[in-house]
Symmetry: D2
Subunit: 342 residues, 4 copies
């Protein structure tokens, strides 16, 4: 860490900071500039918190960390990319993973027909919400355990592995019993109790980025999972909140590209929530793959205009099938071409 003293810091204030650095088990490296004194803090990182608290000491202008606070998720720790496997599906490998299905499981028929359609169109995994986080208490809250059973049935029929959201520590066991992968929703990205519980699960986790989470906060949420014992984490960019209201969120594809620089974890994109507009999903799916995404998660519904949630951003079966046909080949070509540069 680097501590910058304010221009009018006294010698006593500087000495006090140095004394405190030593108390915490670090060494100081003082650089007296023409305007300000800068103190490098040299040593290991375990008392980092105590040094950061020096922001509050008299005469201190700022305390700047120079090392990242995440470790296990970083490329420094593990330069080769992680793959997360669920049966035949592999996140982070050469193949693009396409997860598709309805926002909410609304009925057995709705789910099974969608599962068949997305399977036929080439999706490799099935999504469907059983427990729904809804902004309003008056909106449809999901079918719960019935939905989980329908999902199991859909897997039995189509062979597609299942991912579904778990909203509460209390539901982890029952959801893990039916699902192959557990999703942490955007609003729960910093639900640390839930993260700690999922760190003990044997299921892989799909960790959505929070709508106002910085990339650093997102990676630290993943760090909760890895440091707690679960190495099988897939990140999912799903759009952030900005001033723009024409799209439901702003899909931050730079974050996809950057996460691949910073971390070894697989990362996918959710253009359905990222844009909130059905007509943008095909182009943004292609853009996400071009930016380096390892996969996509797409909302598909038999009749979007009757969907109990997220209709306007859901594709119908025909649209999804056409999208998959278009994606199929060039995505590999993009990948090849990408290998030419950098």
């Amino acid at each position: 860490m680097v501590i910058t003293m304010s221009g009018n810091a006294t010698a006593a204030q500087i000495d006090h900071v140095i004394e405190r650095i030593r108390e915490c088990g670090f060494r100081e490296h003082v650089s007296r500039g023409t305007e300000k004194t800068v103190i490098g803090v040299v040593g290991t990182n375990s008392n980092r918190n105590e040094i950061e608290a020096l922001r509050a000491a008299p005469g201190v202008e700022s305390v700047t960390p120079i090392t990242q606070s995440y470790k296990l998720v970083s490329k420094q720790m593990k330069p080769e990319r992680t793959t997360v496997r669920i049966g035949d599906v592999c996140f982070g490998g050469p193949e693009v993973v396409v997860i598709a299905g309805p926002c909410s499981v609304e009925s057995r028929d709705q789910l099974l027909s969608t599962a068949r359609a997305v399977h036929e169109a080439g999706a490799t995994m099935l999504r469907g919400g059983a427990y729904k986080p809804r902004t309003s208490p008056y909106d449809f809250q999901g079918l719960g355990i019935d939905a989980l059973k329908f999902l199991s049935e859909a897997r039995a029929e189509t062979g597609l592995p299942i991912v579904t959201e778990v909203m509460s520590t209390e539901d982890v066991d029952v959801v893990a019993e039916h699902a192959d992968m557990l999703q942490v929703g955007a609003r729960n990205m910093q639900n640390f109790s839930l993260l700690r519980r999922l760190a003990n699960s044997s299921r892989p986790i799909l960790l959505k980025r929070g709508p106002s989470a910085s990339i650093k906060e997102w990676l630290l949420a993943a760090e909760y999972l890895l440091s707690g014992g679960n190495p099988d984490v897939v990140l999912c960019e799903r759009g952030i909140k900005t001033f723009e209201t024409e799209t439901r969120n702003t899909l931050d594809l730079s974050a996809v590209a950057l996460v691949r620089e910073l971390s070894h974890l697989p990362v996918i994109a959710d253009p359905s929530h990222g844009t909130g507009r059905r007509r943008l999903i095909v182009l943004m799916s292609r853009a996400a793959l071009a930016a380096g995404a390892d996969g996509l998660i797409i909302e598909v519904h038999p009749c979007p205009e009757r969907a109990l949630s997220d209709g306007p951003q859901s594709l119908d079966f025909t649209q999804f099938s056409e999208m998959m046909a278009g994606l199929a080949q060039p995505s590999r070509r993009i990948a090849n071409a990408m290998s030419l540069v950098f």
Copy 2:
């Protein structure tokens, strides 16, 4: 709701929408303009979701709600302001409530000395984190149940009621046993499992606004509590995420003023998290009260530079005491003067 058809919508598409409106138990009111057809949806509100899904129907450009989706928290439902009482403390009444205490309970001594100091300075309630939501898994996570016992002891000695955060449904009972008021932290504002559990608690709730929550989303989170059975909710503005980095968050005092227009619930402000800078807390506390806040929540620590969390935004005992001395009188005068207008 008002449905706007796109300029090139066909007669069949318009008919389809009308048919669907009737199926859902509403009546339509069609207004054919020079460029676009607009369809008013008249009737009661229970199938609102199904009408909103028509956004996905062919030829539909937009579906605009004209009634708010929250009910119980609104002033339409209850024009007079709600008061939430905890012993002698009353949120929403004529007196300003000042909650003060450390970000985290770090030790028995730290808490008791702070409790005594803020009590003496005039605070009317004590805060202190037992379970801490921390961005990094490597940061101090709180003392848990030990902290709750120290808080109980501090109440016994000073008479100050206690508010502390509850992070998980599993902790609700133990926290409610020790605390007088349960805080939902900003990151958990849309942890709906937690909200549903707290709706069944007999304790009043302090509901912080999420860092990227719109005012509407915040009020709907409160609606979860009221509609689930807990009427004793106090809102807390604590800053939102914006592009500005000089302050930790952007304290949105317009939200305080606006929430008083929209809702009957009491609302307080948290200038400590809202600014992240100790030197701004006094001015922003005054500004919050001038904007109509019913109270303040302020972080105070015996030695901020040694705090395990939030040191840079914590006041020491002297600073807090001076702040209270300054706030004491004019806040009533502001309130009187405010009554002259509007």
Copy 3:
């Protein structure tokens, strides 16, 4: 427009609004719901402002436009895509346009060597700042007219057309004398005096999106140019301001995709400013093309670490050349594949 009266609006207030609608030359269409009265305003659009002012009338809750305020830039007005031609370069046609060059023209040698390098690598147009908008008055402000001369010389040698920023109405003539295309910088997107002056120029305009401009505001800025007489406008997405600080801006590729839905104007992307990080430029260039961008604008410098501006986001010659080699072929394949869907 649709006027929503508040729930407790009186009959007199409703009558007053209706009277005012008629005074402004429109007809009203009243829909009395169970909770609120909604008034559709039917007629032509020229007194739109006066109807919008009714937001301030007693009893009015909201006034919602149902038609877009831009006309000439919209696809409703002109469904086929516009092409903007500068010599052999064509924006909006089948070929991707790649503009490359230094952020600032720093010297004759720097510019000429860069022009040769980007020409050889396959760029089809040259960029280079002569008048630089700099956040600080102490930063390098550009070489002005000397830079314009070097740009002319570079065009003479390489045949690449020139685009450069014009910051002031007073400079329009001299810049137009040397440059083939005039850039409106992001900070000047709503400099309406400049837009009005450029509407009278015979040069095509490259209109960058402002860092906090909504898509609607961006299209309305283009509307200033078209309505003032200049049809040759190319839009450029260059990133918006958000809470994320890991990237310099957040490149909003959804905006590229959406602008192609809303407008017939060509649109390109600037991944250099959009990310601020050299290592993300290749991936984000591909992503921009996949999202539907008609071209790219890329900063290239002979020695980025000595650049007087934007070094960290500039490619050196080798990096640019490798990027172009990678882009060359698959971009056409993406375009072909895209045509399969929707």
Copy 4:
């Protein structure tokens, strides 16, 4: 400045950076940590740009400035607060300045009646737009020079000094002839050509914060004025763009409080644009003064529902008069009380 080398930087890369630091006339101060090497750059500040460019050098992770890039506007340069005087009006002194008037000058009658009303109610300065920056080219663009004449006439009658916006370098002379203070609008905050021209004006400048300008960018815009020769600058916070849409902008009162810490310049607030809602203006005016604002600028119109611009955020004469009555006394009490703390 502090240069952080990446963890795997080579000795040659570190040497290269050091060599470059020396070439630029600075000295290096190398601190080799356990994970990374940090290089302090010691010396005067004139080649700052060249050091910042080292962000682009191989092995460099970040370059962090430790001194502010603004000088003349800072409190370090001038600890005592600046006052800007216009006749009897004094910004930055003990009295609160209240500027009031219509958004746009729409007619002689409208302006004169408003001038009389705000004068009588206690406003000390008159505002009124002659040249209007409008998002759409189809909206009312202002009366131009006729409006300037009406403003002069209003001053002659009421004695109130005039502030009005200047949008273009070409209009500076004519506006300065009629107005006592020249406003730089929010959209022009980084119109550097305009700032440079206004630096040569003898009129004081009211510099509005851009809707997406950081506090640092705002102060640097003021630095353009001071460094160019005009010391009479008053800052104006008018709300920033955020995700919240219930208010037109988010009035950032922390910025008011913080600017008083960082700069000696007077700062006022604009709750009309800051909120866009008439009903919030009184509370937010009080909050702004409590946060330390030296004054207010308020939109007032004889009949807001017929205003050609900004009706919904304009007060009518009665509302303004009531607001002033309420503000009159307690604001001094707040100021007194504030002096008790810090």
